[in-house]
Symmetry: C2
Subunit: 340 residues, 2 copies
Amino acid sequence: MKRFSIGIIGATGATGMELLQLITERNFPIHKMHLMASPKSAGKSIQCNGKNYNIISIDQLTDEKDLDILFFCAGGDISKKWIPYFSKKNVFIIDKSSVFRMEENIPLIVPEINGLKVTGKPQLVCNPNCTATILSMALAPILNLSHFKSVLVSTYQSASGGGFAMMEELKQETRRSLNNENSQPKHLPWSYAFNLFSHHSPINEFGYNQEEWKLMEETKKILDLPELEIHATCIRVPVLRSHAETVTVEFESNRPSIPSIKKALSDFPGIKIVDDPEKMIFPMPSLSTYHDEIFIGRLRHDPIHPLKTHFFICSDQLRKGAALNAIQIAETYIASHITA
Amino acid sequence: MKRFSIGIIGATGATGMELLQLITERNFPIHKMHLMASPKSAGKSIQCNGKNYNIISIDQLTDEKDLDILFFCAGGDISKKWIPYFSKKNVFIIDKSSVFRMEENIPLIVPEINGLKVTGKPQLVCNPNCTATILSMALAPILNLSHFKSVLVSTYQSASGGGFAMMEELKQETRRSLNNENSQPKHLPWSYAFNLFSHHSPINEFGYNQEEWKLMEETKKILDLPELEIHATCIRVPVLRSHAETVTVEFESNRPSIPSIKKALSDFPGIKIVDDPEKMIFPMPSLSTYHDEIFIGRLRHDPIHPLKTHFFICSDQLRKGAALNAIQIAETYIASHITA
């Protein structure tokens, strides 16, 4: 079997570390692996699948000749600076940042939905915003049954979306609160302990924050529904690494039955129906965390409106929301590269 | 000034204790006060406004002749058992339980909205579910501007809705999680630490849990909109005592401007607009907790749909969600009783 030389930029971050975990779990066919991080991590080493890897700085990679796949997980500034350089090399690039996601000719990939846009040739593709990936995964199978008039979503977003720093802040602030110590937030202007808040990203001219806008625009791009009426409110909650979303879908004319929606969801790869009203078991972070699947439940028709259906999603933000989707993109590339 | 003899059933619970706090803060005109709780608390005493009150059992109240106002804050079973008895006495009863809320001839009161239904004569009135009170407070001023076609709400509910026991469980489980100790949930079948979950109340034939159904039905009753298309998803989040709600309103025909909605909300008693995109200050539990007001922000028109408007609410569940609304009902009774 052909093995691939890969590079991970941002290897010490929350997504990077999850990527290394998945590389081991999924037995990803690695020939060589280059791990890069900020200068303060350079020189350290990380274990992956029983092997030690030295952290290098990204400049040290520029000499590399036989690089096949490059993961950018280090934030928008690094992507903006380095992707133009590596795009000229013969490399398949998966960018986790939002910098290039909405550019018309750059595919925004959730492999189960639009993996065919991965050509098998070196190209730049983008990994969507976590909330958009999770929502699209739930919508795509339903969309196969009937057209949407509108989609409305409220998110319950975990700390992991802000990386290790935010996860650590949630824990530290909570510990302080439980000990009746003064709050000392570093990454937020307020305490995260037992608190929730509107997603802390800039508000645009329409009154939406960046996260909401990404969720709305990227979902439209992934599902190839540029005209979809979609609305989002993004709220950060004191949960460590699983996002949740309440979703209302209004169908254009024909509302599928609940059993047919459940069947479409169950038949779709990467989705797990967790919807047991008798045992009161529904999706929740303590179930979905460390799992690959999108957990969907509380599926019900509106009791009044004849075309609306509601449901609830939970999914590990670092898995399908970030690293898992990225590695699935790489696997899609490998499969299509081999057959190409 | 006339002073009133009151009784609080469930005085040692989260709502009861908040009621005592508010009685002091608001200088409620008390003549005598009788505090009742379960047999395990009887014999203990509680301080209120510098005075000691012995906890008695409810049977000991039945001899009482000059009782003016009775607060039931001890759950549905106690209300069901004792309200029929006290209804025959000459007492104004405020019931916090859900037992009688939807009975046609029993008013469900949010004083700012329908306080006129408090006649000033002894009667039984109900205090709504916390989520319904909070939502109705936000909707009432907007409804004065234009009719609704539909209302859609997702809740972010705090532990306090489940009383002291649930608040304590959230703290205990979180402490265990931070110390890497095993989870030992007592009141929930899973850990509440850094977790959220669909509201743990039975699911009805339509797929809605009791909390959602209360929120929907009670909001319709409070706003006197029996035909309103309203949908709710109720989620419990790891927050101690403030509820949040994302709300989408679709107007029937005429969507008011954002400034006119903000003015209507600001002019309404008990509402505080917290909506500063530049400083990124919006409603959140750490702002609303221990405050009387309903905090409203993130107010924005839908960028696509011409008749939809979205906003975000936060409010202390034990204040306006429970005890504050109850004491305001009592104050409304006193005011109308004096003028009656």
